[in-house]
């Protein structure tokens, strides 16, 4: 099994268009080697869940996909566009790549509606009316249409994260990145966010999710990836990953997390 691309996916995405390709990516923070020889191909419609011990490079990897992080070696190609230092290309990729953060990163000075329409209006040059219509559609979809005129800080954590998902969807992204979307939430709010994500997955969205929600992973993932010490240690369909982990690190990690 080749590192990174191993594992068959559930519904044979193998033949589909490539959404993200990472080739030999290496990254250092100072002298610290955070990403080591990352090779990963993600196809359209694929759902990938990345887990692993903290400090293993999961977040750094997912943040390379929209170049919130720079890397020193290797190539990252998203939707056929290679990410380089060229700012126009970076913005081009970011427009089509939704991201949901651990701490939501909503804009506190704007209402929920304004959060959702900001980028469509200013980046996609969409007329305000149309942007609001789309925003209302996605807010309804994440089950909070009635909060449109509130400010983010008036909402619960779970509601804020759903707004963040709606905000990303308003740009009609071709791929969604989730960086530990439920780790900052109170336990009783995790489910509402995961349900929203499951709904997205069922609609065929290409998703890369850094998460330790193993129930969610089992339910939606086409491929599980375990990262440790900056490497992709194991990559396999959830059935294999959970029942027949190949690598010692995976067994250890699962033993700890599934206690």
């Amino acid at each position: 099994m080749t590192q990174g691309n191993g594992g068959q996916d559930r519904d044979g995405a193998a033949g589909r268009e490539i959404a993200v390709e990472m080739i030999g990516v290496n990254k250092w923070y100072g002298q610290f080697h955070v990403l080591r020889d990352i090779n990963l191909t993600i196809r359209r419609g694929e759902r990938i869940v990345i887990c692993g011990p903290s400090g293993g490079g999961k977040s750094t990897l997912i943040r390379c996909i929209n170049r919130l992080e720079e890397w020193q070696q290797g190539r990252v190609i998203v939707g056929g566009v290679e990410l380089t230092a060229d700012l126009r290309r970076i913005d081009e990729v970011r427009r089509d790549t939704g991201m949901v953060f651990q701490h939501f990163n909503l804009f506190p000075h704007l209402t929920v509606m304004q959060n959702c329409t900001l980028a469509p209006i200013w980046v996609r040059k969409m007329p305000k009316r149309e942007a609001e219509e789309i925003a209302r559609h996605y807010l309804a979809r994440v089950q909070i249409p009635e909060q449109a005129d509130k400010y983010p800080n008036q909402l619960s954590g779970g509601q804020q994260q759903r707004v963040a998902i709606a905000r990303a969807l308003c740009m009609s992204p071709r791929i969604m990145l989730f960086d530990e979307p439920t780790s900052a939430l109170d336990p009783e709010m995790v489910k509402e966010v995961l349900d929203t994500m499951i709904g997205l997955a069922e609609d065929g969205m290409t998703m890369v999710v850094v998460s330790h929600e193993m129930g969610f992973a089992r339910q939606v993932a086409d491929r599980m990836i375990l990262m440790d010490a900056g490497q992709i240690v194991e990559a396999s369909p959830p059935a294999d990953f959970f029942e027949r982990p190949q690598h010692e690190r995976t067994k250890q990690f699962l033993a700890q997390i599934l206690r």
Binding site: L68, G98, F101, F107, H109, L118, A119, W122, V123, R167
Partner: protein, 381 residues
């Protein structure tokens, strides 16, 4: 304790219906009970009351009770004439009021100044009231069209308006012109400097730092002096810039350096996540700054900005050292008038100046407080 059975006395039998909050003592009662709680507090309260009385009573006597309200010359404000101790000599202010407002702006042309004031107020008032619509148009009018209008009106020399050189401008007119230009021109410059100082590009940030540190390191008096007396030596002989324009440029650059540092403080308070959230949506640098970062950063620094605006407003009095007569300068120059030389003239003049400076500064401060509260979207649950 886990093994111990829960004590039933800690558990309510059924649902507890909400009860009204118990009444609290009124504000006056609460204040009184605190002001006179114990001997120390009582003593402090009484001492403070005495200090206040010692300050307020003489002030009231000087400004109102003992003041002279009518008169035509110094004689009417003399103790010998009035036959009692004399407070403020208000006829002095009334006689010189026009000069305090317009300086030596030709009397027949003062309607032009009034027109500028009027239009300024007409544009400013709706801008300050959040409920009034057309904010963008209004702002454009106040910050772009109004200065052009004011320039043509005040300077003249076209559209049939006689030319009025800035040398004869004075009083409140000079004060307001310098304050308006100082604030309106320096704020955008300050935003650029603050962004520049935090730029990733070393040349940009070095230039911003050099600019800010230079202008902050020099006293305003020096700036004004240099702009007025030294600059002409460095410019080609046939190059002449109006003296007031030179002062305005000096004040603007000086004020921009200070404001830039205030704004930089606000920029630093914006979490990285905001930048990442904006970046992930595909917003470029200017849109991220203009739509996400600056609205939040400027809101954080309203107190600091207003502090600087008030300081600038009062610092306009320094133009006296380059022989320009702002409100305070004009009032002080009137002290020399033998027609109004009385023992209370100086006090009256300063009281008047103080009242005007205080009124404007206090208004700015209160409005800023109002905006701060209005813009606070953090806690509204």
């Amino acid at each position: 304790m886990a093994s111990a059975p829960a004590r039933s006395s800690h558990i309510s039998a059924g649902a507890i219906a909400p009860r009204p909050r118990p009444p609290e003592p009124g504000r006056l009662a609460a204040a009184l009970s605190r002001l006179f709680a114990g001997p120390l507090n009582t003593a402090l309260t009484l001492a403070s009351a005495m200090v206040l009385a010692a300050l307020i009573w003489p002030t009231l006597r000087f400004l109102v009770l003992d003041a002279v309200w009518d008169g035509a010359s110094r004689v009417d404000c003399l103790e010998e004439t009035v036959g009692r101790p004399v407070g403020a000599c208000w006829p002095f202010i009334a006689a010189r009021f026009d000069q305090f407002m317009y300086g030596f702006y030709p009397e027949l042309q003062r309607w032009r100044v009034n027109a500028v004031y009027g239009l300024g107020l007409l544009l400013l008032a709706p801008l300050l009231i959040p409920a009034v619509p057309f904010k963008r148009l209004n702002a454009l009018a106040f910050f772009v069209a109004f200065p052009a209008f004011a320039y043509v009106m005040l300077v003249g020399g076209r559209l049939g308006l006689p030319y009025v050189e800035t040398r004869v401008w004075g009083g409140m007119l000079i004060t307001l012109v310098i304050t308006y230009v100082g604030i309106v021109a320096s704020l955008p410059l300050a935003v650029l400097l603050a962004l520049g100082r935090r730029s990733d590009l070393p040349i940009i940030s070095a230039m911003a730092i050099a600019f800010i540190e230079f202008w902050r390191g020099v006293p305003l008096v020096t700036v004004l002096f240099f702009a007025t007396y030294m600059l002409p030596f460095f410019l080609p002989a046939d190059w002449s810039i109006d003296a007031l324009a030179r002062v305005l440029i000096g004040v603007t650059l000086f004020s921009a350096a200070y404001l830039a540092e205030v704004i930089r403080g606000g920029l630093q308070a914006i979490p990285r996540g905001q930048l990442e959230g904006a970046a992930a949506l595909g917003l470029g640098y200017w849109k991220t700054m203009g739509l996400v970062v600056l609205p939040q950063a400027l809101k954080h620094v309203i107190p600091g900005l207003v502090n600087s605006f008030i300081a600038l407003f009062k610092d306009t009095t320094l133009v006296l050292i380059v022989s320009m007569f702002d409100l305070l300068g004009q009032i002080r120059s009137a002290f020399a008038d033998p027609n109004w030389a009385t023992p209370v003239t100086v006090l009256t003049g300063f009281a008047f100046a103080g009242a005007i400076y205080f009124a404007v500064s206090f208004a700015m401060s209160r409005y800023a407080l109002f905006m701060e509260r209005r813009l606070n979207t953090d806690i509204r649950l």
